[in-house]
Amino acid sequence: MSDHMKPVQLLLILGTAGALFVYLAYFRSNLSDRMIGLLLLSSAWFSILFPDYTTVVAHVLGVGRGVDLIFYLFGLFTVFALILLFTSVRTQSAQLTELIRHLAIRDAIVGPAPEQQRAVGESDEDGTLH
């Protein structure tokens, strides 16, 4: 680290800390999530405060500059996050379908009439309105 912190470093540190806080406060609160979050935050802070070290790691992995390595990892992480998001959206839409289907079957009407609308559920067998 240089003698004094650059403005961009301060910005990144505050930004990452804020993001983690929001994530933990509003979305996840398991102990494991907190541990992973703190681990990610500390590695982010480390690479912000000591950018030269990321270059050392980059060289080990065959990448020229630390900032390039971070960029590649960011891309990978984004794809991963999108897949997670897609999966959860699909799960929710399947659940929503089940819910709507359940309501539709529960509230089925046999022989719709203006004044008499009756939910039949699974009761009568011959399918007419009694």
């Binding site: 399947a94 289907r101 719709p112």
Partner: protein
């Protein structure tokens, strides 16, 4: 065959009609089915104007999705309902007037005779008809036949025809999770996977101005293809 078909064979046929914003067009379709003595299950797939008013006074089973989910979801809802009511034979039928209620007897006969578990209507089998079909639609449907044979091994002449009949056992086997139009491919996949005995019978599909305006665009084949592709990863 089971006892349920002894009294009146047609009343044991449950016709599932998925409908989305069909308005007045559905009434003659439903009346035609009822006139032939079938049980009719209309699944209103979240139409803007609920179908309740249009179907007043008819002895249909009316189910409504409170949110529009898609034709595949509506079919699965209707099939599950019909099964819960003890249906022995289930037919899927379009609400837009393309299908002919007179085809249903021929469609269900092989199941009654225990020659098949699933019977698929075909526009392109000898005796079948696709009235006023556009050339581009014809081409896409032919490609779909090739695609289906390649992906499922089913030797069919028509693949995305909504007119089908299922035995109770076959209907219980079906799990339509493709809410949108890819359900047609999914049904075929499941016929192949579960090795359900299937047959095609010739049917007539009439493309009226209304049904063309309302129905599938040819370009939607790409969406269906994509959904089917995505399905490979959903298993």
């Amino acid at each position: 065959m089971s006892d349920s078909t002894t009294s009146d064979p047609r009343s044991s046929v449950w016709v599932v009609v998925p409908a989305y914003n069909e308005g007045q067009a559905i009434r003659p379709v439903v009346d035609g089915l009822l006139a032939r003595g079938h049980q009719v299950v209309v699944v209103d797939d979240g139409s803007r104007e609920p179908l309740l008013d249009v179907l007043q006074g008819t002895p249909v089973h009316l189910l409504r999705h409170v949110i529009n989910l898609g034709q595949g979801a509506a079919l699965q809802t209707g099939i599950r309902y019909a099964l819960a009511r003890g249906a022995e034979l289930i037919v899927t039928f379009d609400a837009d007037g393309q299908h002919q209620s007179t085809d249903i007897d021929a469609l269900t006969a092989p199941i009654r005779a225990q020659r098949a578990e699933v019977v698929l209507g075909s526009r392109f089998l000898a005796g079948g008809q696709a009235v006023r079909i556009s050339r581009s639609k014809h081409l896409v449907l032919k490609l779909a036949v090739v695609f289906t044979r390649w992906t499922t091994g089913l030797a069919l002449t028509d693949t995305h025809n909504g007119l089908r009949a299922f035995s109770r056992r076959a209907a219980q086997t079906l799990r339509i999770t493709q809410n949108g139009m890819a359900h047609a491919s999914q049904i075929l996949q499941q016929i192949a996977v579960h090795r359900l005995a299937y047959l095609e019978v010739p049917v007539t599909v009439v493309y009226s101005e209304y049904s063309v305006r309302k129905g599938q665009r040819v370009t939607n084949a790409f969406n269906i293809l994509w959904d089917s592709f995505a399905e490979l990863f959903n298993r």
